[in-house]
């Protein structure tokens, strides 16, 4: 389909076409030039480079995990804003509003399900995305700082999930936050202060609910959005997604033109296609766009199906006098809670703190430049083994905390 703009004034443009072309500067692309300028002149498509390396589009390389995380975030923003219309951050009303979502609000329960399952999904996908980036060695030069931004994004995602956990004001929420904020109090020197500022009081109550609400709906999404923007921007500036080094560097084709002082835009981008042949890359429109659309539709469909099938949990309203036994944190913190049951300081602050430091430092410790852009590269055997063992250890702790812990945190068998 193509819409003609003007052919040297010969074809008359109708008023409708005039409006159309005032909004969309390009015709529906049919030539390579139009395909480039579509990516270039459209505000929303402008985030893409005009061309991407073919390797970037291999589903088995990225598994689409970063994109899935981002689309889940979009779903969370939309459903979250809708839920805000009916939510009141008050200890006397919050739980009733949860019941209203079930009973009277149109699609209320469905929106809450979508929000809840997307939140769980986002934590899982961000974590898996981090595993993908590590196992393909993609944090190496020049992408070191984008990895650090990724670690921050993981932490903000967890904090977003944690603050949202309190809002239904049910037993699950209250006790998980009681336990979680007490862990913060074990931080050396300023632990008690952190807990007090976070809760606005010495125990979880109205002040804590209001504070968590503000963090959850305003502060943290803004921080996350900003970090995501920088994260994406840096992908472009660091030369696109990581890929294996070219097998044989092609000899540079001699340029017949005299050197000019006009720089191509790509000249400012580190490592973008230099030495790469044109046949290694494809136009973002429509190749990258269709791939993204596919991942988007897939993500939304899965969330819709899961939200139709499973309801978000809602327990009894808060009863300060009766902690559930055992009181458990959300699943992704159960590994932490399991470690905390051995030692509050080491399990809750020491070991997680070291882990975060280690994660942030990885691109600066690991100076081996080999093995970028391939899964489980042989040259990275040591790094990958260490990383995978820590991941497996964490998963084991989560499984033990989830299924093998009964009343008073005693060991029980789920079988």
């Amino acid at each position: 389909m193509s819409i003609q703009i003007e052919e040297k004034g010969q074809t008359r443009t109708t008023a409708l076409q005039g409006i159309w072309t005032s909004v969309f500067r390009n015709p529906w692309p049919s030539t390579d030039l139009e395909r480039s300028s579509t990516s270039f002149t459209n505000f929303f498509l402008h985030i893409h480079p005009v061309k991407v390396h073919k390797h970037t589009l291999k589903p088995a390389y990225t598994l689409g995990l970063g994109l899935i995380s981002f689309f889940l975030f979009l779903i969370l923003v939309v459903t979250g804003i809708l839920l805000m219309f009916y939510y009141v951050p008050s200890t006397t009303q919050a739980y009733d509003r949860m019941l209203d979502l079930r009973g009277t609000v149109a699609f209320g329960i469905f929106l809450r399900n979508m929000h809840r399952w997307s939140a769980h999904g986002m934590v899982a996908m961000v974590f898996l995305h981090m595993c993908r980036v590590f196992l393909t060695g993609s944090y190496k030069k020049p992408r070191e700082f984008n990895w650090v931004l990724g670690v921050m994004l993981l932490l903000v995602t967890l904090f977003l999930s944690f603050t949202g956990y309190l809002l239904p004001w049910d037993q699950l929420a209250f006790w998980a936050i009681t336990v979680g904020t007490s862990i913060a109090a074990y931080a050396p020197l300023i632990g008690k202060e952190i807990q007090f500022v976070l809760l606005g009081d010495s125990t979880v109550g109205q002040e804590a609910l209001l504070r968590f609400y503000v963090l959850h709906v305003a502060v943290l999404p803004a921080v996350l959005g900003l970090l995501v923007a920088i994260h994406f921007w840096r992908i472009r500036k660091d030369g696109g997604l990581s890929r294996p080094e070219e097998p044989t560097p092609r000899p540079p084709t001699p340029d017949p033109r005299p050197p000019s002082r006009i720089y191509g835009l790509q000249g400012f981008v580190r490592g973008a296609f230099n030495g790469g042949a044109p046949e290694d890359s494809v136009f973002s429109w429509p190749n990258l766009l269709l791939a993204e659309l596919f991942v988007f539709v897939l993500t939304v469909s899965v969330i819709l199906v899961v939200s139709l099938l499973f309801h978000a949990p809602l327990e009894e309203p808060v009863n300060v006098m009766h902690p559930p036994n055992p009181a458990k944190a959300p699943w992704y913190f159960l590994g932490l809670q399991e470690m905390v049951s051995y030692s509050a300081f080491w399990g809750g602050v020491g070991v997680p703190g070291l882990m975060v430091m280690l994660l942030i430092g990885v691109p600066y410790f690991d100076r081996n430049p080999k093995g970028v852009g391939r899964w489980f590269a042989k040259e990275r055997l040591l790094a990958n083994t260490v990383f995978l063992s820590l991941v497996v250890l964490n998963i084991i702790f989560i499984i033990v905390g989830t299924f093998f812990r009964g009343p008073n945190w005693t060991f029980v068998s789920p079988f």
């Binding site: 336990v179 007490s182 009081d201």
Partner: protein
């Protein structure tokens, strides 16, 4: 000329950076509440006669357990020193439902991850004859109030 420009650059940089730090600090001061709206630290719990001798009554909302042995009374915290759950009264003392910490009758740790014994709070008799607990003042374990 050059040195004056350098000095002015330095001065304004320090000024701008200092203002940024000051506003960050004032934000921190702002979000730390000066008054809390939750439970008061000092509260009355009723007359001594409400607690018959030989009983251990746990006031879960106040997070304190009132112990009376004969004419001696005490207030022991029921907030677990591990992660802040409310400990329940068990046969041997107190037990925490969250991570399995156990305490004896006086609040000493007998098992689990709790790092410290349960604190004892100051219990006093107000002029109107009511017992008053002050959670802001911890007393040594074993200090009773005679009623």
């Amino acid at each position: 000329m050059q040195s004056r420009r350098t000095a002015l650059t330095w001065l304004s940089s320090v000024g701008l950076f200092g203002s940024a730090v000051l506003s960050a600090v004032s934000n921190l001061v702002f979000i730390k509440p000066r008054a809390t709206y939750g439970q008061p630290m000092r509260f009355a719990i009723g007359k001594p006669d409400d607690f018959p001798p030989g009983t251990r009554i746990s006031l879960d909302v106040k997070r304190v357990c009132i112990v009376r042995e004969g004419n001696k009374m005490a207030a022991i915290s029921t907030t677990c020193t591990h992660l802040g759950c409310i400990v329940g009264i068990s046969d041997t003392g107190f037990a925490c439902p969250c991570h399995g910490s156990r305490f004896d009758q006086d609040g000493n740790v007998t098992g689990g991850p709790a790092p410290k014994p349960l604190p004892w709070f100051k219990l006093s008799l107000a002029p109107n004859g009511e017992l008053e607990v002050d959670k802001g003042q911890a007393v040594e374990a074993g200090s009773y109030l005679n009623v």
